[in-house]
């Protein structure tokens, strides 16, 4: 789905294939970012008032004061279960409440007691549990340090960039001036009275007052002195004015990471996996925006925002979760970033005392400081820690992991039927066909174009007959049209987002003038969800799922193509929660799909905008990319960045959305997409058709092969998603996640792991004759999954490639289940047998898993209806045993073949089944490749069995 094809923007676009940077703010053009960034590191004006310290069972509280303006802040420190620390800073007495992000944390994070180790006038030392981890609060200037032993893991405000713009009353207005006069008179009277009436109090009270009263006076004075800068009370960008009725409210805090050279995460940016230092350029921006024709390798904001950063060194992995939904900028600097490799070597040789350090600074426009410091120490720990805060990946229906065919637009029912038939005619599997906005009646979502889609149920039934599915688009902008039921109901219920003047906020999007439902309102979400009921969404059926596009939200005529920041969601401004809107849209839709099935079926919802926690509601994709090699390449780090912060179900439009790919690019994209989690081809309305069979028989065959590889591997994908759902471990992983000490893996953008066991290095270079893949792991071996050729780990391996090559390697020591009988949809393969690929480690050991359930309901969770088995190969015996004794499920699937890579030739292979029976298996042995193939064990995949090789 593409943004901004509309005419009035056409002028600005000037026909070039590049983002129009002028449509989007730089830090300099964003008043709060400019103000904050003007602050340079130095002595912090903040001081901890240790006398205000309170330590309860769950938290420590402490006041901070800004010595410049005497405004007090309240600091809350929590030690959370699972080795995390939460730091909250808010104004002690804000003029009005400041926004705290709701609905992102899955619960109030359980705490563990903090204990005070020592305390003096300079600060306090707290224990963070057994691991000799301590939290040191320094009073003047205020700073926090987290130590382990003698090592500083992380420091807050060590560069003095804590800055908290307190809410204030506007002083340049007449009403203020009158009010101030009256107030100060009243204050004087009060003061005089109080001193006279109560001249003697208890010592304590007097002390407190003595401490407080002058402070408040100073505070007033200091506030009076504050300079009113441009952009504090009003800001104009292009033709849009932001009224800023609450004035300046931004916050900032710096973090120092000694010993850290690599930071990752904070998606969504079209940039390398390893984040770059931002000195001299703009900070990374987090602000959900519909960016037309985005460019790769820059820190501009894109459709989604997840304010989570991971730091990694060979010693430790940590995470910083900045829970704030307002526009956010992240500055990164590093004392090694500017140095060349040679320079770094020189430092090393000369024994330079400078340890590498990365400094990070977060700036947000409003809200409070609420930071979760995930202390790792391993990548797996950080994933678990983050999952414990925001939940795990929604477990998708199995079919959603298969191939999706999309285009803006499949024109009508006949077109859908013809494309569906085309896949069968060319024997290419697919599970989902998608309908973009043109399927609706005039871009009124939940409706069908009566001419093009007169009988949607017939169409859906036709797909169902082939065990296939459909996705229709439902965007969150609602056509303002009094003959449109959805609009009328939202309006009459008062569910629209309001403009600053209190009327329904309206903006332009696909349907023309549109309203934007307030998805932050739980009643609105419940109503929206109810619209997906089969009797509400006419023409829908159980094999129809949903796509939420444009949920940044996109407002064609709004500032930066999104909603005005002073638009109102109840009492809160869009400014406060902007980045959260898209999450709510996807959530309400996913809840609708669950409800329509009576809570039985797992939903599948794709969204473009997202926030921390969005992983709980479905899939995301990298938006409107382009048919360029650079965009194919960037799909890897973009999805890896998302994977690191909880979102496993990620993909890029295969083929590229804008422009038309060369045949080679299209083939390479299918090959890459087949090994990325969300595998969907998509194309812009203005591009020529590109169904897989339109490029000649050879290319059809290449694409067919790539898609078939995906289908054969679906059992493994499903198992990985089960784990992502169960424990928050990412499906697609940077190599360093599994090889955290191997510095060679720290900045790789061109290859990745699926789970632990598959290494993928797709060909993403035009005209490539070969690729160099890095196989990690000293002492490990890797097997080419196509040729079964064995390669040693810890080497750069040059692989000659042809147009049919997809370099994929299976780790020695792993067992991967596949289904070799690829059929026209994943549902058709449900009962098919498995082939196990056992790749032996040099020590002739291997381990793997198999997860099976019904593929589409919540019964796996609610009724424990699943099979989860452990395969182990050790001592020349391969066995299958139950990993989930409490679960119950039966399958028709059986084991048809076992392929053992790196094996030696046995004299016989004996199968022992669960009932104690023994039989001999036939086998073939390929001595040149050391591949042993056991013929037809025939055991049910859900049962215990052992094969002994002699």
């Amino acid at each position: 789905m593409g943004p901004l094809l509309v005419l009035w923007l056409a002028g600005c676009l000037s026909g070039t294939w590049a983002v129009d940077r002028g449509n989007f703010k730089t830090c300099d053009q964003s008043a709060f970012c400019k103000r904050q960034r003007a602050l340079k590191p130095g002595q912090s004006p903040y001081r901890a008032l240790l006398e205000t310290l309170e330590l309860t069972n769950t938290k420590l509280t402490l006041q901070l004061i800004n010595d410049n303006n005497k405004v007090r802040l309240l600091l809350e420190l929590y030690r959370l279960q699972g080795n995390m620390t939460r730091v909250k800073i808010n104004e002690l007495k804000p003029l009005k409440p400041r926004f705290e992000v709701p609905d992102v944390l899955i619960n109030d994070p359980p705490t563990e007691p903090l204990s005070l180790l020592s305390r003096d006038e300079n600060g306090v030392v707290l224990s963070l549990g057994a691991d000799s981890q301590r939290l040191i609060v320094s009073a003047k200037p205020f700073r926090l340090d987290i130590m382990e032993g003698r090592e500083v893991l992380l420091s807050l405000n060590s560069r003095g960039l804590l800055a908290f713009e307190h809410l204030r009353i506007r002083k340049d207005t007449i009403s203020y001036k009158i009010k101030t006069k009256v107030n100060s008179m009243w204050e004087n009277i009060k003061w005089v009275f109080s001193s006279k009436v109560d001249p003697e109090g208890t010592e304590n009270k007097e002390e407190t007052e003595a401490a407080n009263e002058p402070t408040e006076g100073e505070e007033e004075k200091a506030k009076e002195d504050e300079k009113v800068e441009d952009g504090m009370w009003e800001e104009t960008f292009k033709s849009h004015t932001d009224s800023k009725p609450n004035g300046p409210s931004s916050i900032s805090l710096d973090f120092s990471l000694p010993g850290v050279e690599n930071v990752y995460g904070i998606p969504e940016h079209a940039d390398s996996l390893k984040l770059k230092a931002t000195d001299g350029g703009d900070p990374y921006r987090l602000f959900n925006l519909d960016v037309f024709q985005y460019e790769v390798f820059n820190p501009m904001a894109l459709y989604g925002a997840i304010p989570v950063m991971l730091s990694h060194s060979a010693q430790r992995t940590m995470g910083i979760f900045w829970l704030n939904a307002a526009e956010t900028w992240v500055d990164i600097s590093s004392n090694t970033a500017g140095k060349t490799v040679f320079g770094q070597m020189l430092d090393y040789v000369q024994g330079s005392s400078e340890t590498p350090q990365t400094d990070v600074r977060w700036i947000s426009e409003s809200g409070i400081i609420d930071v979760f410091i995930m202390l790792g120490p391993t990548p797996t720990d950080v994933f678990s820690q983050y999952a414990s805060l925001t939940g795990t990946q929604a477990f998708p229906p199995l079919s959603a992991l298969a191939y999706h065919q999309c285009r803006w637009n499949y024109n009508d029912q006949e077109d859908v039927a013809a494309v569906d038939q085309g896949f069968d005619d060319h024997d290419i599997p697919y599970d989902f066909i998608w309908l973009d906005i043109e399927h609706t009646d005039g871009k009124r979502y939940f409706t069908w174009d009566p001419h093009k889609f007169p009988q949607p149920k017939d169409m859906l039934q036709g797909l169902l007959d082939k065990r296939r599915k459909m996705v229709t688009i439902v965007d969150p902008h609602i056509k303002v049209d009094s003959s449109y039921k959805i609009h009328n109901e939202i309006r009459s219920k008062g569910f629209y987002v309001k403009s600053k003047d209190g009327g329904d906020y309206e903006g332009w999007c696909w349907p023309g003038n549109s309203g934007y439902p307030d998805f932050t309102n739980p009643e609105m979400r419940a109503w929206w969800a109810s619209m997906f009921a089969y009797d509400q969404y006419e023409g829908s059926m159980e094999n129809m799922y949903t796509w939420n596009d444009m949920n940044e939200p996109s407002v064609f005529n709004g500032p930066e193509v999104t909603m005005h920041k002073d638009a109102l969601h109840g009492n809160w401004e869009n400014r406060d929660l902007h980045n959260l809107y898209g999450l709510y849209v996807q959530r309400a839709t996913a809840e609708g799909l669950i409800e329509r099935s009576g809570g039985v079926e797992r939903p599948f919802v794709l969204a473009r905008a997202f926030f921390a926690g969005s992983q709980r509601y479905g899939a995301v994709w990298t938006g409107d990319n382009a048919a360029e090699w650079e965009h194919l390449k960037i799909s890897i780090p973009m999805c890896l960045s998302l994977s690191l912060v909880g979102v496993s179900f990620c993909g890029a439009d295969v083929g590229g959305f804008f422009k038309s790919p060369s045949t080679e690019l299209l083939v390479r994209w299918y090959q890459t997409g087949a090994y990325q989690p969300f595998f969907r081809a998509h194309a812009h309305l203005d591009t020529p058709r590109r169904e897989p069979w339109l490029f000649g028989p050879e290319n059809t065959a290449l694409i067919r092969e790539a898609v078939r590889q995906r289908y054969a591997l679906l059992p493994y994908w499903y198992q990985l998603f089960y784990h992502a759902h169960h424990s928050g471990q990412p499906v697609m992983r940077p190599l360093w996640v599994e090889y955290p000490q191997d510095t060679a893996t720290f900045s790789m953008d061109d290859q990745f792991l699926l789970g632990r066991d598959l290494l993928v290095h797709p060909v993403t270079e035009e005209g490539a004759r070969g690729v160099t893949a890095y196989l990690p792991g000293k002492g490990e071996v890797w097997f080419d999954v196509h040729t079964f050729q064995k390669h040693n780990g810890a080497q750069n391996l040059y692989i000659p490639v042809t147009i049919s090559s997809i370099p994929v390697f299976q780790r020695g020591g792993s067992i991967i289940p596949r289904k070799a009988r690829v059929r026209r949809s994943s549902s058709c393969m449900e009962h098919d047998p498995y082939t196990l690929f056992v790749a032996l480690s040099p020590k002739r050991f291997a381990q793997g898993e198999l997860y099976i359930d019904d593929g589409h309901t919540f019964n796996f969770d609610k009724q424990k209806q699943f099979i989860h088995r452990r395969f182990s190969f050790a001592n020349n015996a391969l066995s299958s045993r139950n990993l989930a004794p409490g679960s119950q499920f039966t399958t028709f699937s059986w084991v048809e073949k076992i392929v053992i890579l790196g094996a030696s030739k046995p004299s016989k292979a004996t199968l022992k089944t669960h009932d104690g029976k023994e039989s001999q298996l036939e086998f073939e042995f390929d001595a040149s490749m050391s591949v042993l193939t056991l013929r037809k064990p025939g055991v049910n995949a859900g049962l215990d069995w052992t094969v002994v090789l002699q």
Partner: protein, 501 residues
């Protein structure tokens, strides 16, 4: 896994289908033609010869042969295929991945023997429907083919007519040019020094009188051509000429007017004397590429024609500056006898204008162009030339003018959009004349120029049956015409060639 060899029992459907059932046992999924390779109780050799296995491993739901030939009746081999007999309809091979996938692929239901899918045997019904539609198609083809023969015949005649006409026109043009050449000599002579003036004058006068006679002949000739064209009504050039005449009803008169003007004021000097033939041809060809009016819709023709005339003047003025001056010099030279001189000049100019007469040129050009088109192996598509066919949809009126252009006009106001100009025949190898391609239509915003693919199918009538836009700005049109009807196979062949058993 449990699937041992299952022999195909003669199905009920089969018996119903033909009523003449012969029981032939063969492994599931094997076509009759390959039955001989699957001999029970003998080792089976994969059809690619790659290995030999015991017969009980045929259809045992495990793939042993690289070519998949040991599992014709199970889904075990990724590259296998399954044969459905489909008695009553036509037999088919399906990929083995469609065996027991829960979807009924074979109309005789034999592909779903173990999936729980409930399939109905639809072969007889499908066979009946197919026979019906084949019958209808055969009738259409038969009639269409007859019509095609007629079209070929007419096209042949029309082609000959046109070729003849063209030759004639080109011949007379050549004659005229020769005369102009002769007259040029006369003219030059007339402008020679004074001393021989008298004789020359007399001689010239006589020659001139002769020329005048010839000129009258020539004018009659030109008129005759027009008459001829009228007779051959229905062909493009004629139609265009006619429409041209309608647009310019005084065309006869304008000739003489031009003549007069030219002879009197020399306001529109003739093409340079030196190489009249070449120059005029160059001029025509320039014009052709720049402003060839046939590329425009009929309604635009008037404007274009005007443009053409304007351009004619401009180009003449711009390009022929030197010759014009020379001409002027010659004119300014005191004539021996003004009267004679003007007569000579007048005749000369008139002949010149006849050679360069836009109508005459246009006729020749159109004829040349039409003759140059590829109207199919037997010119059976010639009848489509200059015709237009429309299809009205809910939003648009689509218009196909074969060998010319495709356009789309909104039904409720709005301007016409060019969906492509005639490009070429674009059918697949062996069936080139089944697809027409029109391209270089109006450009799309951030997209390609519009283009249209026209698929031709056999029909008694010539009609556009559907249009669609499968890809943005790439249109697809279906068009029936007798011209693509193939010689019908005998109906029996059609009906019985497809069923096994």
């Amino acid at each position: 896994m449990s699937c041992a060899l299952l022999l195909l029992l003669m199905s009920l459907a089969l018996a119903m289908g033909t009523g003449a059932a012969v029981e032939i046992q063969r492994p599931r999924g094997v076509p009759l033609s390959k039955r001989q390779f699957y001999e029970e109780n003998k080792p089976f050799t994969c059809l690619d010869g790659s290995s030999t296995i015991p017969f009980d491993r045929v259809n045992d739901d495990y793939c042993d042969c690289r070519d998949g030939s040991d599992e014709p009746g199970t889904a075990a081999c990724p590259n296998g295929s399954f044969h459905c007999t489909n008695a009553g309809f036509r037999p088919a091979f399906i990929p083995s991945s469609r065996i027991n996938d829960g979807i009924c692929d074979c109309c005789d239901t034999t592909d779903e023997y173990n999936s729980g899918a409930t399939c109905q045997n639809t072969c007889r019904e499908m066979g009946r429907k197919e026979r019906e539609s084949l019958q209808i198609m055969a009738e259409i083809t038969k009639e269409g083919f007859l019509l095609k023969q007629q079209l070929i015949h007419e096209a042949k005649r029309g082609q000959e007519d046109k070729q003849g006409k063209l030759t004639e026109l080109q011949g007379s043009k050549k004659g005229l040019e020769e005369k102009v050449e002769a007259l040029r000599t006369v003219k030059e002579t007339a402008e020679d020094p004074e001393k021989e003036a008298k004789e020359r004058h007399l001689k010239a006068w006589e020659e001139q009188k002769e020329l005048l006679r010839m000129e009258k002949d020539k004018t009659r000739m030109a008129e005759a051509f027009l008459e001829l064209d009228d007779d051959a009504d229905g062909y493009v050039s004629v139609a265009e000429l006619q429409s041209h005449l309608e647009l310019d009803p005084d065309s006869d008169g304008s000739l003489s007017e031009t003549e007069t003007q030219v002879s009197q004021g020399q306001s529109e000097p003739p093409a340079p004397v030196e190489t009249p033939q070449e120059e005029s041809r160059d001029f025509v060809s320039d014009h052709d590429s720049d402003h060839y009016p046939e590329d425009y819709a009929g309604e635009e023709e008037e404007d274009v024609e005007d443009d053409e005339e304007d351009d004619h003047d401009e180009e003449e003025e711009e390009e022929k500056v030197t010759p014009e001056k020379r001409e002027d010099d010659e004119v300014s030279m005191p004539p021996y006898d003004t009267e004679t001189q003007s007569l000579i000049d007048g005749t000369y100019s008139h002949l010149q204008s006849l050679i360069c007469d836009p109508e005459c040129i246009s006729i020749c050009r159109n004829l040349e162009k039409e003759i140059g088109f590829d109207f199919g192996p037997s010119a059976e598509f010639a009848y489509l030339y200059s015709q237009c066919y429309e299809l009205s949809t809910s939003e648009y009126i689509y218009r196909l003018c074969p060998f010319n252009r495709v356009s789309q006009k909104p039904k409720f106001g709005g301007s016409e959009t060019n969906l492509g100009l005639w490009g070429q025949w674009a059918g697949p190898e062996g069936n080139l004349y089944s697809v027409m391609k029109y391209d270089h239509g109006q450009g799309c915003w951030q997209g390609p120029n519009r283009s249209t693919t026209v698929k031709l199918t056999c029909g008694k009538e010539t009609v556009v049956t559907s249009t669609s836009e499968p890809s943005r700005c790439e249109y697809l049109m279906e068009f029936t015409t007798p011209a693509v009807c193939q010689e019908p196979a005998s109906l029996d062949e059609v009906l019985h060639g497809h069923t096994e058993l």
